[in-house]
Each structure stands twice: as C-alpha cells, then as structure tokens.
Symmetry: C2
C-alpha cells in the first residue's frame, strides 16, 4: 500500500519506501522516528510561527499598556527597527517576548497558542498558520505508524507552543513533543496548587547536539529515522543514521519559491559554513526537494 | 467488568471504581494518570532498588580496582559504616554512585539496569527485584487504560533505571517515564556521534513540587489521578486533586509487615512533620491499606 501519495515517483520516494520495508525487520521498540517542526513539518517563513505569535501578543499587550513599548526589545519590534533588532539578536528578543507570557498557567498559554495557530492567517500563504503544514510529511507520519513506528516532534521552538496543536495537526500527543522548555514556578494560592510560566528557559535551546541529548533524556529511545531542514538538525540526523540496522536521514530542501519559499540553512552556528543541503548530499542523506519530490505541498481544506 | 481482582471489596475499591466510572465523562485527552514508582509500583525496602543496583556495581568495580574503595563515599559503603553513610548523606552517596556509571552509553546502562532488576534476587522477598511489583497497582493501570487513560510513571528515582524495564513491567514505554535525569555528553569519535552519561544530575531531584513541574515540562498534561506513597508525592497528588472534574488521589499505606513492610513516610523535608498517611486521611485522599485492601501483594510467577 502506498500511503505516500503526495510524493512524486523517483529516487527520494524509493529510498523512503525501501527504508519502510527494511524497518519491518526491526524490533517494535526500535521503530522510532523524530521530526523537527519549523521548516520540516510546517512552514517557517517569512518568520517562525512562534515569533509571529509573540508579536501578536505584544501588539495586544502594548495596546493595553503603551509603556511596555519603552522596553528596548519591544520598541525595536513595534517600530520595525530592523537594525536594532539585529543588534539585540534573536535570542534576546525571544526571551523578552517570552516574558509577555510569564505568569500564565499552562492552560492559558496553550489556549492562546492553539487559537493563534489554528485561526490567524499566514501573511502570504492564504490559509491559517496551522494549515501551512506539509501534506507529504503528514503522509510520511502515517506511513511510519502503519509500519509500527512511534513518532515524535523534536523542535528547536517552544515545546508548549507545538504541544498546543500537536495532537490535532500531527496525531502526536503532548508528551511526544520535545522542544525548548520554559521554567515553571509552583506555588499555592489559598491552599490550592498553581503552576505558572516564568520567562526563563530551562537548560539549553533545543538545537544541534542539544537535540540528541533531549531525545535521550525526554524520550529515552534512539531514533532510526530523523527528519529536519536546518543546520540545527544535523546532529539529530547523524545520530539516527549512526544507529545499527536500517536508518533514514531526511532533509527537506526549501527550493520552491512558487508554492512555498526558497532558502538555504547554513550550518554557521554549528562548526561549518556549508549549506545543510550540500552537507546532506555529500553525506548521502535522503533529500526531499519540495519542488521536485512533492506533488502537493499543503493539505486541501474545504 | 471488574479488573481490580486483587482489591478487597470495601471503601477503597468503591472509591476507585466510582472514579473510573466518573472519568468516562472526561474528554479523552484529560484522562491522564501518574504513578510514583518506589513504594507505589514496586517495593522500596529494605533499600531503594536503584541503590541496591549501584551497590552491586560498586562491588564489581571495587573487585576490579580496589583503589576505588579509597573514595570516602565508597569506603563508607563497602565497610558498612552506617555512621559515615549518615554523615555523608544520601544525596552525596547517590551522586558518588552515579559516577560509577559515568561514561556509559545509554544502552549499556539500560542493559545493566534491566539485568539487575529482572534477575537479581530481592534480599528478603524470595523473588527477583522486578517481581516485587504490586499486583493490585498493575490491575489499576489496566483498569485505567480500559477507561481510555494515558498512564505515566513519575519517579523520584533515576529516569533511565525505571525506563529499562517500564515496558516489560508496566506496559509503559520509555518516554512515559519521568524521573530524576542525568546529564549527557555528546561527542564524536572517529566521526561517529556518541552519547555518554555523566555523573551530574540535570536540574532538581524529582521530588515534591519538582514532580508537578516535571509533569508539565515532560508530559505537558495535567493528571486527574495521581498515586504515591511518600511525602515527595504530596504535591503531585494535590495537583491532580485540584483539577476540575472527577479526580483521584491514591496513597499506598505500607502497613503490612507480614507480606511486605510496615513503615511511615514523614513529610519532614517538605514543610511538615506529619506522616503522609495522616495527611492523606485528613485531606480525604483515597488510602490503599496494603494489609486490608489488597488480597494479593505480588504477582504469581510460575
């Protein structure tokens, strides 16, 4: 049975199909596949969806309290001061934005995230953000499950932003999402326990080698398949490919400016300045060209 | 259908059965149950199984390299110097013992743990450690799953010690176990990625309020049922009971010196000096008396 109906016949689909067949020889507990999220499962342009979400939260917060715009990071954002944004750097901006949600309970944050993802229109793709997921990757998740695989999301983004919709979009429950974690504060109010988000990231951002470590710590299983699209996915893909037995390392190549976007991810932060697609081809990973290998990019929603 | 065949008819079983019936009204995603491990799912006397495992590792290591016994913590253990052990304290001893496994891969550690748990005889119970699990609690796991619950282990012990056998003993996959985590080191050897345990604990030991936080961070779901047996489970049980809708907080009372052990857990470390059983009765949790409520304590193995 071919579940990969949005994958065009050719070498990439053949390699995936061959891996699925070979994986039947693995013990059930060894059938583990991990997927990066931004740019691998859903679109990450023109900006990360979570950044768009935080900017929307900022807009609402500044409307309610204009003095917020006095904070350097927020001022740079609301005045679209690209030079100031670049000078401050994304990590600092991201932390300042995470502060907007400090004090929320997990339920509040989750409800806001889900509403944004499922309802807010993507700026260019004529659909809500949450419909800008890749149909061929959803089919790959289904095909893996059909072959007895446990499937997980291993994202560099905020764990709970993805968890808010992971069951609905991917059929993956909250505990199947591993990402960058926020610290929580436990307190009791009038004798009742309350858990609140802080603005502090717990541990490292979940990118590069940290993804391999978080897979071990949070899932406790070694993947035999890993999919990604950026330099921050390299170690995770190499980790899957280094497992004994059948394995698959899949890289999504964003080479389709007509239907999605065209851009390179350069491995600058992690040791190299080579494009991740060049690394993938050199190391003989399986490269999914969005332009050539996918007949459909996004799901049809009536 | 009564799946709770090792639970004696009475108030405790009635309360559990009533909760199971009421929980059918919950949305599937809300049916989440968490279980402490030591003293709740398996026996924790005369010592934590993981401590017994580490002591066995120490015995083997000292036989191979007697100079190891010069380290203060190891000397106290191999000479059974209880005064020195008490003076050093369990956290320091535990870290020194964890050091014995530093440098191992996850697979090596997991294989050693599984072998110990499944094969090493418990010192007093005439069965391997891994057979000293509580039959009524296994039945409760089954009954919960029968009612559509997702079930998780939330242990104060080492995550990967429990994960080594969680599927086999409890039907819970590795990612369903949340415990105290060890840091890992990611490195490449001859170009191949390698992940090695360190001797450092990542974050806090998973006890008390930390259990509530780790449930949120690692599972991302709020439990409506929590089971425990010690002071370190109090916050997790209160967290489950504070959820809106039907909930169950279950405390295992070790009051059966004939079939298991009789002992109290005093909430000294966490704000109070009251016995956890007294707290449970005062707060109207459901108390499972091992002596009165369980017709069978351990599974029959032919």
């Amino acid at each position: 049975m071919n579940l990969l109906t949005s994958w065009r016949p050719g070498d990439t689909r053949d390699r995936i199909a061959a891996f699925l067949d070979q994986s039947d020889a693995l013990a059930p507990a060894e059938r583990v596949a991990v997927f990066d999220n931004d740019g691998t499962m859903w679109c990450e342009k023109p900006a990360y969806f979570q950044l768009a979400f935080f900017l929307e939260q900022l807009k609402v917060a500044v409307a309610a309290d204009p003095t917020l715009a006095e904070r350097q990071e927020y001022r740079a954002l609301v005045t679209h001061d690209d030079a100031a944004i670049a000078a401050l750097g994304l990590p600092r901006i991201a932390l300042a934005l995470a502060d907007l949600c400090a004090g929320m309970t997990a339920d509040e944050y989750s409800a806001r995230s889900a509403r944004f993802i499922l309802e807010q229109p993507h700026p260019t793709l004529q659909r809500p953000f949450g419909h800008a997921v890749y149909q061929p990757m959803l089919e790959l998740l289904d095909a893996l499950r059909h072959h007895g695989f446990a499937t997980f999301i291993v994202s560099g983004g905020g764990t709970e932003f993805v968890r808010a919709v992971s069951q609905q979009l991917y059929g993956i429950p909250p505990e199947g999402v591993v990402g960058t974690l926020i610290e929580y504060e436990y307190l009791t109010i009038d004798g009742a326990p309350v858990l609140r988000r802080t603005g502090t990231v717990a541990g490292d951002a979940n990118e590069g080698p940290a993804k391999v470590i978080s897979i071990q710590q949070h899932l406790g299983r070694r993947p035999v398949m890993a999919a990604g699209n950026s330099a921050g996915d390299r170690e995770m893909i190499e980790w899957a490919l280094a497992s004994p037995g059948p394995s698959l390392g899949l890289l999504v190549d964003h080479d389709d400016p007509d239907r999605e976007f065209a851009y390179d991810s350069v491995a600058g932060t992690f040791e190299s300045t080579e494009s991740i697609v060049d690394i993938a081809r050199r190391e003989d990973w399986t490269v999914a060209s969005m332009r050539h290998d996918w007949t459909t990019v996004f799901p049809c929603h009536s």
